[in-house]
Symmetry: C2
Subunit: 354 residues, 2 copies
């Protein structure tokens, strides 16, 4: 096993034990990510024997990886309050590598609540941010969009939502390459006074002259899929409901198409004709291409892969982490926030209104 | 024009001017509904000339309809606070026919907020109900489910949610023909303490021994599509977000399939092979089959058709209204609620917990 030297400019810590088929899937994902990112080195945390068994199958990956033995594992049913006290898990140790500066990002396919709790405790929230958020990139009809919060904060006030908008703006610039991403607040109507008070207040803040943001107003959930906005901002409860409703519907339709084709010999004969059309849809909608939710608002990048990811989709999460590190994602968010005082904007609006 | 006599046991009032292509679509829908429901008579409100122009195309419908001239129309941009004061609109007058006992249900494809506001004012909330809700029936993988509230109440407390569960239970028994519908609260996790406090409190109420309800706990949005529950209960904001996310995704996938097939001559050649498979999916998922959201919790049935409905899907909304009147839907809800005191259950739980 090579020693990962300090001169390697991009180091990612990996919780090899998180996810449904770990460490096998994790190592397969790293092998693919290593091919795509020759500048990245990996610090791999997990059961030494089990991980080595997988790692030795990929000599090229082995060369850029350093394996650390973590005696314990975070389980899906573990509570955040327990896991933050156990320093022996692979998840804790991988995150701690970012805290200590050995790595610039951490990737885990383990328990989301645990990953959030440990990341928050070890990496700490960026000074001006009140609440970190879970963010992800998803496909719409004509491209991709950034959505947050996807579940870190059940209840949010207007300042929280405005902070999410600022972070989403940076994310869309970096990850989608947009100069002026269109930012929208998720709501159940587009009229001024529809929906909840905190959303109205956040809209007022985002319209403030002090905000360097392309705020386009409210977006309704059925408009998301058609590319009306580049960044969708919601509280964690609402964002999670929208995300899971979208995922469930896509899964339902996929399974219905599969079943009804299977049950008809005529349709089976037609399948070859559909090959290129199906491939095209899959190239846009394939959920494997969108793996990797990020915790934003922390002093360090913490990336959550889907627990049921396969090797390819795990590699997508790792690639995304590498990309955001290269683009100085965290320092940019910090810098953007230094120029604006959301609390002050909120106070100004509050006094104007009442 | 025949006089609709009092001996006709089922009378439905219709706002002929609501919706995108009214009154044409409305009258086409009524004609289809009349064929299916020979026992139903219609009181049709709208611009007399415009409605008559359409009505005369359907002599059979004409025989069971009475036309009333309403000089004004509710527009999509009208505010609820305005429309409740204008007694001259077709929507107001159609709802008023239910209030006065001339009709047992009203159907409109007009402005939802206006329909809710006028219905609430004229029909009044059932005595024990604090808040009426918008409810709809939708398809899942293996059948159909009832979901409420879909947008009438942005914020709800635990008692509101429990009331929705009771009403949804009656709805599922009547409309889906289930003896013990499985009731679930929509949440972002299935663990006890996930999500919001009012949801936890509502869950405690629904587990109470005094409730004659088959409560199965929390459901996550992606599980809805796979038939885990027969009744999904949520506050109006969350329910609306889930509904519109589901609709938007289904629409996205439909449009992507259409486009990618259109762009490939090979796929076009394969289309005939797919005919029966596509027909089967459409028989389950066709949104036209699920038209008609109802306001429940009122002393009378008020049904909202989609504004963009075509004649067939408008007729589905009318058929549903007729079916629920025949099944004594409103009196059953009233009777079910007489046997339980949700406020008391809520108080009991509150004292137990604190």
């Amino acid at each position: 096993m090579e020693q990962v030297s300090a001169q390697n400019n991009l180091v990612i810590a990996v919780d090899a034990m998180g996810g449904d088929n770990s460490p096998r899937i994790v190592i397969e994902g790293l092998a693919l990510a290593a091919e795509k990112n020759p500048d990245v080195r990996f610090l791999v945390y997990g059961n030494e024997d089990a991980v080595y068994e997988e790692l030795k199958r990929f000599p090229a990956l082995q060369k850029v990886s350093q394996l650390f033995h973590s005696p314990e594992v975070v389980h899906n049913e573990d509570k955040p309050s327990q896991v933050i006290r156990n320093k022996n898990t692979s998840m804790y140790q991988a995150i701690d590598a970012v805290r200590s500066g050995q790595a610039q990002a951490v990737v885990s396919a383990g328990n989301t609540g645990a990953l959030m709790a440990i990341s928050k405790m070890l990496l700490k929230t960026i000074q001006k941010i009140h609440r970190p958020a879970i963010v992800s990139i998803m496909p719409h009809r004509y491209g991709r969009y950034v959505m947050l919060d996807l579940g870190a904060n059940t209840e949010c006030n207007a300042v929280n939502l405005a902070e999410f908008a600022v972070m989403g703006n940076v994310m869309a610039k970096h990850a989608l390459g947009l100069e002026h991403p269109r930012i929208a607040l998720l709501n159940i109507g587009t009229e001024e006074m529809k929906g909840k008070e905190e959303i109205h207040h956040a809209a007022q803040m985002l319209r403030s002259a002090n905000m360097d943001i392309n705020f386009i107003g409210y977006i309704e959930p059925h408009e998301i899929a058609f590319g009306k906005a580049d960044v969708i901002v919601a509280d964690g409860f609402t964002g999670n409901v929208a995300l899971k409703s979208i995922e469930g519907t896509a899964k339902l339709i996929r399974s219905m198409i599969k079943d009804s084709v299977k049950e008809s010999w005529l349709a089976i004969m037609g399948l070859p004709f559909m090959y290129f059309a199906a491939k095209k849809i899959s190239a846009t909608m394939n959920p494997k291409l969108y793996n990797g939710a990020m915790f934003v608002g922390l002093n360090g990048l913490s990336v959550k892969s889907h627990g049921g990811a396969d090797g390819f989709s795990y590699s997508v999460a790792v690639n995304n982490a590498a990309k955001l590190v290269r683009q100085n994602f965290v320092p940019t968010i910090r810098a953007e926030l230094e120029n604006i005082d959301l609390e002050e904007i909120s106070q100004d609006i509050f006094y104007e209104v009442y």
